[in-house]
């Protein structure tokens, strides 16, 4: 019998090996699939037990914090946003049932303290509860509030960027939403026709109108197609692609140079310039400015839109047939996000170099020590310093004597460009036809801040509606 007992033992060994095999399958080989199972709530519960780090403004005001609920083993943390709707965009929300959005989603791993594999493994060995890192943003509380006051409830967006670092100082979307209300009003917020959940600065696609003439002028000057003193005869109206195109107020300007054309936003000048440049060159410079791609901002790609020429939702390229004359003045199915236009201004302000925009500026460990600091990164060499300087001169004239005088600040030179576009789907605007724009930077000679401000559905002009908002935001940022 002994040999058979040994065989029986071997069989038991095999059975136990099967148990080890199955246990390894669930714990290791299939673990990632199981963790991603929709019905598996453990990751959510676990996330809730981590004290997610705070999010702060540049000057230390708390934007988001975690509030402890329950005691002992049932401790969990719930997100709270003390400033309500002021930072609903771009910070977003983080709730177990509804997931993470916007900044909270992009910086999730730092906020839950999962950004350093070695450290967290070490903490686990010590049995330490995981604690998230705090993130200091570059958002400026005063600028954010000033932008809200400026928009005064009109739907629209404001973006302010530090030209030489890409630091985002303000990002405002109206109508806003209060992230504290997400758990109770999730469906209502998402179904609201006023679209408060849309982060307009990076998701809103608007016709940029005349602000786009900056891109056309930059392409023409930088490519050498024109020099600052060259003139083009600019009558009150010309025919482009078989259709008439007129200046605002039907004014004839005669032969003028690029500075004069920008100052008075002369359509007939830029339409002819566009046709001279051609689609290829213009699209090339657009791409350098960041068009035709998602902004390289620290927000989830899925929550940002790109800027460019669209046909039935499809992005067109330089090889597609398009009316380049109308594209040059910001028409021709061209749509741009407010941050894209702010990047155009910031590039010119920064001597032609586009910096990657960034909302975060510092990551602090739970003890308050700085773990990481944002180091500015160049996104692309867009235009030469010379071209940037020439454009700056022209943009100063816009504010000093042209369409943008409402953006002037006392004692500070402001450079800018206005825009007033016709809204394509005007039905949603109760008959108010215009998209009003102002983009610019200040001080013109030593730029500290670049801004884009836009208002949807208005009967006003860029120079009257958007310029004062931009001026107020720049003022508040320059006062510090």
């Amino acid at each position: 019998m002994n040999a058979r007992i040994v065989k029986l033992f071997a069989f038991v060994g095999v059975m136990f090996a099967v148990l080890v095999g199955f246990t390894s399958y669930w714990t290791v080989f299939d673990a990632d699939n199981l963790k991603n199972e929709r019905v598996n709530k453990r990751p959510l519960f676990k996330a809730q037990q981590i004290e997610r780090g705070r999010i702060l403004t540049a000057d230390g005001e708390v934007i988001a914090r975690s509030v402890r609920k329950g005691r002992g083993a049932s401790i969990r943390f719930v997100r709270n946003y003390p400033e309500g709707d002021t930072y609903g965009h771009p910070i977003g929300y983080s709730f177990v049932q509804y997931g993470n959005s916007e900044f909270e989603a992009f910086h999730n791993s730092e906020l839950i303290g999962d950004d350093n594999e070695f450290a967290s493994a070490f903490d686990e060995l010590r049995g330490k509860d995981p604690v998230g890192n705090d993130i200091v943003t570059s958002l400026d509380a005063d600028a954010q509030r000033t932008a809200f006051e400026g928009l005064a409830g009109q739907p629209g967006a404001v973006v302010a960027i530090e030209p030489d670092t890409g630091a985002v100082k303000a990002m405002v979307s109206v109508p806003p939403y209060d992230p504290n209300t997400v758990p109770t009003r999730f469906a209502a917020l998402n179904e609201d026709p006023a679209a408060p959940m849309v982060n307009r600065p990076v998701q809103g696609q608007y016709p940029p109108g005349s602000t786009f003439k900056l891109v056309t002028a930059a392409a023409a000057l930088d490519s050498g197609a024109i020099s600052p003193d060259d003139t083009i005869d600019s009558p009150a109206s010309i025919e482009i692609q078989g259709n008439p195109l007129a200046n605002a107020d039907n004014a004839p300007y005669g032969p003028i140079n690029v500075t004069k054309a920008l100052t008075h936003s002369v359509n007939t000048y830029f339409a002819q310039l566009g046709e001279e440049l051609g689609t290829g060159t213009l699209e090339d410079y657009m791409s350098r400015f960041g068009f035709n791609a998602k902004p390289q901002l620290d927000l989830p790609d899925g929550q940002m839109s790109l800027s460019g020429v669209f046909s039935d939702g499809r992005l067109l390229t330089g090889d597609d047939p398009m009316d380049v004359g109308r594209l040059a003045i910001g028409q021709e199915r061209l749509l741009a996000t407010p941050i894209q236009m702010a990047e155009v201004a910031a590039t010119i302000a920064n001597g032609g170099d586009l910096m990657k925009p960034r909302i975060w500026s510092k990551v602090l460990d739970p003890d308050g020590r700085t773990k990481k600091t944002m180091s500015p990164e160049k996104q692309s060499d867009v235009i030469s310093e010379k071209t940037a300087a020439e454009l700056t001169e022209a943009m100063k004239d816009v504010v000093n004597e042209g369409t943008g005088t409402a953006a002037a600040l006392s004692g500070i030179d402001v450079a800018g460009k206005t825009g007033t576009a016709e809204i394509p789907d005007v039905d949603r605007c109760d008959g108010l036809p215009n998209q009003a724009w102002f983009v610019g930077f200040a001080p013109a000679d030593d730029p500290q801040i670049a801004v884009a401000a836009t208002v949807e559905c208005t009967d006003g002009q860029g120079g009257t509606v958007a310029a004062p908002i931009a001026a107020a935001v720049m003022q508040s940022l320059l006062e510090e």
């Binding site: 019998m1 002994n2 058979r4 007992i5 040994v6 029986l8 033992f9 069989f11 038991v12 060994g13 059975m15 136990f16 099967v18 148990l19 080890v20 199955f22 246990t23 390894s24 669930w26 714990t27 290791v28 299939d30 673990a31 990632d32 199981l34 963790k35 199972e37 019905v39 598996n40 709530k41 453990r42 519960f45 676990k46 809730q48 037990q49 609920k69 329950g70 002992g72 083993a73 049932s74 401790i75 969990r76 686990e124 049995g127």
Partner: protein, 438 residues
Amino acid sequence: MSASRNRELLALVPVALLLTVGFAAVFAQNDNQLTNLSLSYGLYFLAICLATHIYIRIRLPDADPYLFPLLALLTAIGLVMLYRLDSETGNELARDQANWFVIGLVLFAVVVHFFRDYSVLERYRYTIALVSLALLLAPRLPVIGSQVNGAYLGISLGPISFQPAELAKIGIVIFLASYLREHRELLVVGARRVLGVTFPPLKHLGPLLVVWGAAMFMLIFIRDLGSSLMFFAAFLALIYVATGRLSFVIIGMGMFLAGAWVIYNTVPHVTDRVDIWLDPYQDPSGAGYQILQSMFAMADGGLFGEGFAQSMVLIPGTDNPLLPAAQTDLIYTLITAELGLFGACGIIGIYLLVAARGFKVALMANDGFSKLLATGLTTVFAFQAFVIIGGVTRVIPLTGVTLPLVSYGGSSILANFILLALLLLVSDRARREAREGI
């Protein structure tokens, strides 16, 4: 032989240490401070084990030195896990379990005292078999019977509830060992080959058919797939060891599978259990909840586990279980979640060591009954571990048997210390005979 007793004593020290450290960890977790209470728990445990050790030293001086420390180790692991659960749920399962441990050791001593000559068991084998079958059926009786999750596993007498299958498994092994010791030659000699398969002689087939019938009966009436599987596996293992005919085992397996298939198609409770095993996602918040949560918890455990007492057992902020029956069915899952694949392998390793020592006892035994008894007891112990671990890891359908000595449950503790008593009695006699040169 005092050398083996000294080894036993030495082996008990790390067991007591483990218990002390485990309790201390739970204290530290709860209060962020260490009290000397954990130390006294450890000392208390060591004292009980020491008393048992001295008793074994006197009564069973030649018995296997590792079996008792291994079983004490499993009990200690169970106590620590239960204590860790108590700190979260506010129950006092660890205290109850510790009491059952003491009672179990007393029962151990009683069995060792009265069955020193365990061959008397052979004389009462039919009585034992009948009592065992009666025990198995008791949960279906009115008043005392109770149903849990559709299976009839327990009886309750006043405040005490009891799982009779735990005791019945020992009785049935005693019966089978004795019966097969007497009839194994007949089963082999009279065998006939039909179509190349060796069948046992018909007139001796009867009792074997009775065992098969009992297993099927259990499936239908007790609706307990796990116990049924465990008994039948022990039965086939004993048939194989007694007769050496693999064909008997294959015929038996075929009959079991055929019967199980019929029952799967006719008994709704069994159908549900098997369907949920095949596809737990069909009802993730109902019937499939337990097995799915078991898998999810193991996934969180990974290689090294989330750390002792770090795994979620309750849904945060509620008293609802995230890991249902973590103290019984899913205790292996809990260990895997907290100590990882390595911890799980450790547990399986301990059961393998118990099996190794148990089969060693069978190898050393000198008479047929002793060999078969030790083999049967060891097999039933090992298969019980397999059935529940296999259940929570989805090797087989999940059923409600306990993880021997680790799961919470008095019947399990008592039965397994009786099992230990019998194994040590066999071992002591075998090694004494070897020492004396018989």
